[in-house]
Symmetry: C2
Subunit: 555 residues, 2 copies
């Protein structure tokens, strides 16, 4: 371990131990405050200034093999960022990254964890700056960009470091082995066990959660001794460029080669992710995005271990409820958050066509639909509050799907654009809700990414549960929820969730939403249905990123 890594280790040992405890105990824990105020009085203005300092210039990143400058990010809030980034000559960059690895490998799991937790601490200190970068690339409202792009992403990074450390230290680093030989002297050997990396990891970022969805793979691969090349979505480079720069600085300061982490920004339409994925140096791939490219990666990069998060049809079964208002408010919030542009936004809401029992009263299907529409309207009635909760549409596909959804079933709630006084060009959209029938399978077995939800009339709760089981098993989902006052119904839905392999939230009526998961406690996705082949984070997410090599000799 280098002297600086040693210092980092002393500084962060307690955080590492606590994180390793947290991933086992899964109670509430986080070292990174989610309230902006916690970052001090100067942080907000300093962060904004730092963000503005990047605009309309070359991003400061000195990495080998830069053959031109690229970048054309335009904020969903209507601003051109004007930042340019290095475009890589892979034949120069990747060999440089490989050369950086042996020293990082030889430093061992503890030193790597210490350096990475130091980098996370530095990223945390720059949360305001990163929040602006996430806000202006993803289209998330600033408050959400702050939490999801900052502390919650850092939580997921630290969680991956903790899992990586736990997995690499699952066996002792050195052992003595003494085998009795009856009357003869025992056989006596000394053995060493070393975690070795697979090679270079490739992290393919997404538009909507540039840091949150990239940090787990980035930190998991680094913590297990690999180098990582980060290929951001072309619309969401800046948050990852800042992250890569912080990591490179921290690594260099700790005495390691900064080329362990590099940014690979593509020329328009270049398809750099595909090129990188097929390189023999790339031995791990982390991807969030479309099912089409995810499946392509899973099948066409056999040299790599591939972790994917793809499309899904998040499902809610509504059977009966005690706190009717709580349920309506909770669902309205889940539909609205970031204008439904989350891989966790509920899409398919199964409701018995005969209606439900709400706080002891009967509510018809149409009553429920109307009440839910009213709840959304009420939640978003004030433009300022709506702008703080919704997001700017980050992709014309969302607008197209909203248009298309207008002619699906019976529109229960139409979507409209909320005026944003700060950014008049932003298209901030409210949720659309359409009522359809359970026989209309073609509609609800595909993903409608964006603020689009279907109230699906089922013959019965049992039919709803069975359809939930089958559709999620076959088409995938990241989230699922059930509302019921009946223990048997909840148990049946839990059983269906186990069969379909999806995480379930039961009777959410307060300030916990089905589309949010808490690091160190909630797993994000399961890897057990077609929406993702991995969970953030669990042992399977880290265990194949390294191998154990042993050396043994007689004593």
């Amino acid at each position: 371990m280098t002297a600086t890594a040693e210092q980092f280790s002393v500084r962060h040992r307690e955080t590492l131990d606590r994180a390793v405890e947290a991933i086992r105990e899964r109670a509430f824990w986080t070292p990174y405050p989610e309230i902006p105020k916690a970052y001090g009085e100067e942080a907000a203005s300093a962060g904004k200034l730092a963000y503005e300092g990047y605009l309309n210039r070359r991003f400061p990143l000195a990495q080998p093999g830069t053959d031109e400058l690229v970048g054309a990010e335009r904020s969903p809030y209507g601003v051109d960022l004007g930042v340019t980034y290095p475009h890589p000559d892979l034949d120069v960059l990747l060999p440089a990254m490989r050369r950086a690895m042996p020293k990082w490998r030889d430093a061992g799991p503890e030193a790597r964890a210490a350096v990475l937790i130091e980098a996370l601490a530095r990223l945390n200190a720059r949360t305001h700056e990163i929040a602006h970068a996430v806000h202006h690339t993803s289209g998330q409202a600033f408050g959400m960009a702050f939490q999801a792009g900052g502390p919650h992403a850092q939580d997921r990074g630290l969680e991956a470091v903790a899992y990586a450390y736990a997995a690499q230290t699952a066996q002792v680093a050195a052992a003595e082995w003494e085998k009795p030989q009856g009357p003869k002297p025992a056989l006596h050997m000394a053995k060493k066990f070393t975690a070795v990396p697979r090679g270079i990891g490739l992290v393919i970022g997404c538009n909507t959660f540039p840091t949150w969805n990239s940090y787990p793979g980035l930190f998991a691969s680094l913590a297990t001794g690999n180098a990582v090349v980060v290929k951001p979505h072309p619309n969401a480079v800046l948050p990852l460029a800042i992250s890569v720069a912080v990591l490179r600085d921290t690594l260099a300061e700790a005495g390691f080669d900064p080329d362990l982490v590099a940014l690979a920004v593509e020329r328009p339409g270049e398809g750099l992710a595909k090129t990188l994925a097929l390189r023999p140096e790339i031995r791990i791939i982390d991807y969030t995005g479309s099912t089409e490219f995810g499946v392509w990666l899973e099948r066409n990069a056999p040299q790599a271990v591939v972790y994917t998060e793809k499309a899904g049809i998040n499902t809610v079964v509504v059977d009966s409820v005690e706190d009717y208002k709580g349920m309506l408010g909770n669902l309205a919030f889940s539909f609205s958050l970031y204008s439904g542009q989350m891989c966790t936004t509920p899409q398919n809401i199964f409701v018995p066509r005969e209606g439900i029992t709400a706080a002891g009263e009967h509510k018809s299907f149409d009553d429920f639909a109307a009440d839910l529409a009213t709840a959304v309207d009420k939640l978003l009635g004030d433009d300022a509050r709506a702008n703080a909760l919704l997001g700017a549409v980050c992709n014309p596909g969302v607008t197209d799907r909203l248009k298309q959804a207008e002619s699906v079933g019976k529109t229960v709630l139409a979507s409209h654009t909320v005026a944003n006084p700060d950014y008049p060009a932003a298209e901030v959209r409210t949720p659309l809700i359409a009522a359809i029938d359970i026989t209309d399978t073609d509609t609800y077995t595909g993903e409608w990414f964006g603020p689009i939800s279907f109230l699906i009339a089922a013959d019965s709760t049992d039919q709803a549960i069975e359809t939930f089981r089958e559709t999620v098993r076959d088409h995938g989902a990241i989230t699922a929820a059930v509302y019921s006052t009946d223990d048997d119904t909840i148990a049946k839905t839990e059983q269906a969730a186990l069969d379909a392999g999806v995480n379930l939230s039961v009777n959410l009526t307060g300030a916990v939403y089905v589309n949010q998961s808490a690091a160190f406690s909630d797993f994000h996705a399961t890897g057990a249905n077609p929406a993702a082949n991995a969970a953030l984070s669990d042992l399977a997410y880290v265990a194949s990123r390294f191998r154990v090599v042993q050396s043994r000799r007689h004593i």
Copy 2:
């Protein structure tokens, strides 16, 4: 947990805890004695009788979907076994296996471990019987068949159960989560975490180690809640048929559906492994065998997690040695054991062309070659001892390669057939050693499976180490060894082994051989070079066989 599983759990809890401790500590441990005498006075004759009871009749196995009887095993020792086995109608068998899974899943990791350790205890009690079955299908000498086919295979099965249990219990089964909300009441939730299986596992057995190479995948998949269909090598069915029968009986006795495990024996030339591997129900594949089919599986069964052990070029670097006789004897034994038909037998022995220093004296390359040949001759001089150490050739490919090797380089030691008085038809072969040059890369970069080793003249030890690094990185190896009295040379070789991703044995001169690994302490293979994509066993070997699904609700 069923009442019987509960009893098994009480019976085996200590073994499970000890095994979980052992995989972490990696000191010597085994619950299964490797000495035949330890099994009692009656065990030998009872085991032989039990084995003979199977011959020339239908194997007693009642599993669904049997459409005909198949089987044509002929012992490498020259005896037709005459046992027939069920051939499966997969459209009946696989659905039955799927139906068996939910109860097994719901029983939880502890109950599954308990039932499987009970099955291992029953297999252990039948070690003599299984030893005969392994002896007469693999061609291993009886003593080796006893150890490798019995207790050592059972060790590897238990090791996989321990890893599976540890991985599934890496997080608590239930947690309370309480998130502070400043002045507002805390958010308070109860969460459950359930390990769910992937589906049906497929274990594809090999001819040479029917139980040893199959038990890890078989037990790892079952312990993580999956069902497993076992497709044995057509020449080595009986040991796995007995194992499947024991597992089915134990499962049924514990109140589970015996169809959680089934045997799938193929018609001659049917290619059943390929058919099974492409079935959507198959979600895990464990394979030991040729590189060609292993790579085919890795690339053509994307619905499954695929664990493969393939061909490799096991390497020894000889630089200098203190105990010259010890080294010669150790190498001679490693070449001879089971007539080199092990995936761990050393093939490429790099030696400086200027010779080595042995116990302070110079030995030329030719001296060393002659001394090694003499050591092998001496070890195998007595036919009875030779028959106890060597094995019967299990595959005409071995004989063909021996023939071909006669014209490679300069023959240092010719192979011959040792007469076996009990089985005159058996072809029991001694090792062939040929001297070649390091420039003859075409010869030594492919696997010559069987008792064939090359002494490769290198310009220097440094060149030998560098060639070791490159050839193993590119072509794979399960084992590697170095002999040197120089600490720097050992350190350099260790570094090369880390780079190549292969386990290294240093200066083996006694009764530990490079081709043997001890469960709970030594990893078999690494997964870090082309010879295998997995190690037996580590966390990566079990972590992707299941997924965690959670359910959360407000308290």
